[in-house]
Symmetry: C4
Subunit: 300 residues, 4 copies
């Protein structure tokens, strides 16, 4: 069939792919930049739309406009996702990358709620697409900071997990004890053990809603102990992360010398950082003279 052939040609039109790729995946060209900024605005507007939709007492007259706006945004995001798949040199890698999954999830909830109803608010997953803001505005040094933060957290994660196991054991024990102490009172707000554990977490983390509070002297004494415990062990994750960050920042070159700081910041800001992303792994931040991706060795 003619149609199938044309489709085949279209699917292998490398020149078109390349052109679209530069617009959609990069932001070095004016068109690419414009596209990325427009995309950011679409994401923000579609999030605000979800916010507004959730409000009660809206005038009935806006309703149809909002429905149409939703159709438009979803159509735009769907086309964008398909185009990304089309023009990506390695569509499978893109589809399975973090941004690829998020891009897909950003369009799905609408279709699901269209067919099955419900699940509409899951559109909020579009928020995650905002992480792209760093790439769009060439704020790679920020992404770098994010990587250091993430690395610190990952390096600390084992210590934090051990800490959490102990927190879980503590809150289960405390919650049960509090239920035994205050559970039988007629006006008690400790209705059962899971609720008491919820209270223990509220107290230990110093959140302190006040929806469940002890009323007996013994209960108040136990609460005070939990609070002081929470106040003290709060020091543990902070100490863990601080210690890791201090060591991290000692080895990173970025913030080593403080004297040239202003120059450094200015340079970083004005520096014409390359916005090319790797067609294979989708990661950015490559040097301008780079020919191969520094993460996976793929040709850029």
């Amino acid at each position: 069939m003619k149609l199938r052939e044309r489709f085949q040609t279209f699917m292998h039109n490398e020149a078109l792919k390349k052109k679209l790729y530069i617009i959609i995946f990069e932001s070095d060209t004016p068109l690419g930049k414009t596209f990325d900024v427009a995309l950011m605005w679409c994401i923000i507007l579609s999030i605000l739309l979800v916010f507004v939709e959730s409000m009660q007492g809206l005038p009935a007259v806006i309703k149809p406009f909002m429905v149409w706006a939703e159709y438009l945004f979803t159509a735009f995001f769907t086309i964008e996702y398909l185009t990304r798949l089309y023009c990506s040199p390695k569509p499978k890698e893109y589809a399975l990358s973090f941004f690829g999954v998020v891009d897909l999830l950003a369009t799905l909830p609408f279709y699901i709620s269209w067919i099955f109803g419900g699940a509409r608010y899951l559109m909020i997953i579009r928020t995650f697409r905002l992480i792209r803001v760093f790439r769009v505005f060439k704020l790679f040094s920020f992404l770098n900071e994010g990587n250091i933060l993430l690395l610190s957290l990952i390096l600390s994660s084992r210590k934090i997990m051990v800490f959490f196991l102990f927190v879980v054991i503590i809150v289960i024990s405390i919650g049960t004890i509090m239920y035994m102490v205050e559970g039988d009172l007629p006006n008690s707000s400790f209705h059962n053990i899971p609720e008491s554990i919820y209270w223990a977490i509220v107290t230990l983390t110093t959140v302190g809603y006040g929806d469940i509070t002890p009323v007996t002297p013994l209960g108040q004494f136990l609460s005070a102990v939990v609070m002081l415990l929470g106040y003290t062990i709060m020091a543990v994750p902070t100490g863990i992360v601080s210690a890791t960050m201090i060591k991290e920042s000692g080895t990173s070159k970025v913030s080593d010398d403080n004297e040239n700081l202003d120059d450094e910041i200015i340079e970083e800001m004005s520096n014409d950082i390359d916005t090319r992303t790797c067609p294979n792994c989708g990661r950015g931040g490559h040097d301008q003279e780079a020919v191969f991706c520094k993460y996976c060795g793929e040709r850029l």
Copy 2:
């Protein structure tokens, strides 16, 4: 008597002991692993059972099932404890070790509540048995992190105790002052000095339930001072623990070099760490080629 003889033989059946020991105390063999995983599930299910029991408004039809489940779990834990005692080469050491005491306490509450009534919820002590999870899943490096955390806390404990004495003096003083300021008001929630001290702790630790709040301008001013104080002195335990951790992590080899991190993590994860525990002191984490316990010198 014949029976007594058979019991004597059973009590000295070293081959059976060895076999059981490998199953119950270690998790290198498929059977040992299966046993440990089953044990973990029993612990988790018995904890959930306590949770469910505490809930009001359960259909009466479930009640008998829950009672039977409780019988079963307790029987299982009792048999397990007795078997551990039986097959441990040094039963006394095991019985007095941390895990030995916890294993005993995990079975007792049921019998106590059976005879005397009450105390049933103390079964929650089974939670502490979950610490074994690290051994079961060969996460010795995690236990190691736990040791570093514990060491940091122990090293900081004297400073933290001094800090606590001052916190106690502060909250007693503040609580009394607040009682003098707001205690005489008709709608006051500061009914007596202990309750005011409870309020002072709630405020100083930034928990802030809101069940007791000042209503006079002077009381609100004093509260604001307490809050700012609590906000600032929170820095003290954090500073203590951070300082200790930074020094600790400087001397520990585990996380010294960041470059080889990924290799290290992978190696640690995949490394076929030995799950044998010392029959004398009960500690694990021995190298595969080890013949003697590295903690107490006992033959493994």
Copy 3:
């Protein structure tokens, strides 16, 4: 015209300018010191006046006095601002400096509320003038500490901004999920998504007002997760700032040696630090023998 000539003479009366400059901008002379202390009191009193004005149920008899006091303070601040402009060698630089803008804003709200009504409470901007307290009381070492703090925050700002973007994404996601979980309940306090996001921030930051609380078990479970998350990621900004401060304090000379501390503090306190401010950039803290501003090279 005669008047214009006299105005011209007045505007170029360098001797008068110099004299006023020493009184208003500096506090080395007794008159300069007296002026600065009087100014501080005026600022504090005018702030207290705004406080009192906001209270309901004041006796009607005080009203006129308060109006007159307001006139007086505004007149004083206006004249002071004009005099500062008049006697500053570089009026434009002063007018655009931080203190110049604050000095102007401290007088404007009254005139605006006089002409248009409202906006009267904006006079509270006078609070910012209190930062001058450090100069008046020769506490330059304090200002120095402030600079170190500020520098630490600026150096950490990129990391903190990345952290905030993630916090924003987290609270939007959590808020939406909570709205989906609890929004449909008849007695729900989660009325719409923005309110749920507000709740997520209240919980994540461990503030915990308790005006919006989950009532379903699932909602309470999610809340507990958010609390533990907030409790842990609180460590991130602290770790960032701590790491920066430790590095900063390592390079700063001020607090390098602890042995001579008492001497140092005494010396700093008693030291007759110069209160001259640069006529060009308005910054103080110059050495007594300094002839040129150490910041901009302007003659003092």
Copy 4:
């Protein structure tokens, strides 16, 4: 007069003074130790008495016993104070030292309330006498830790004061803005600016009572900003104190090597530390072979 002479002899009975001094001021002898422990118990009991007194609904039958107990404690503390004055080699120095003032204040409130009424609860000042517990139980190493903590805070105090000035400016500004936003609402809990500032402090310090909460979307948005601000700037005092402590602990010898830790702790605990206090300045912690006070040079 005979009486006067006898009083004179008594006042100069150096042997008696010495004997009493060893009992009251030191705790090396069995009698001295017994006295100190008895004193601690008296302090704790008299504090508990104040607690109990503040409770409403006590049976009338206890009242007289409590009054008598109060008489007894006050008599004991008064006699103790006078004896301390009598047997101290330099009574004036003792009377003006921290402990001397606290010892006096611990007896005064009773007499004041006896003559003028009221002020009775100020007896709680006796709590401060508990700081002596470290001396009684020979926990000088703890006092040492306390000194390091105190030194860290003093070294950080200037930075913390600058931080507080900014916090004050922030809460005044935020409180005023919130009053402008929510003050006019009919059901507003922001009644006036001071109350709004109180709210701002409650929110910024993440205490979050919930007695005053915003109800408008704009107010909730502003609150969220304040919370995130408070969540972040909490890092500043922590960073300050951590940085100081890390530097401090780097220079202190006490906790320098971690290997010999257990030995060190044991040694410190068992070490027969001298409990002599300087008769001039009242400070303890002298070496056993010391002949002169290491703080003021007075002969011990």
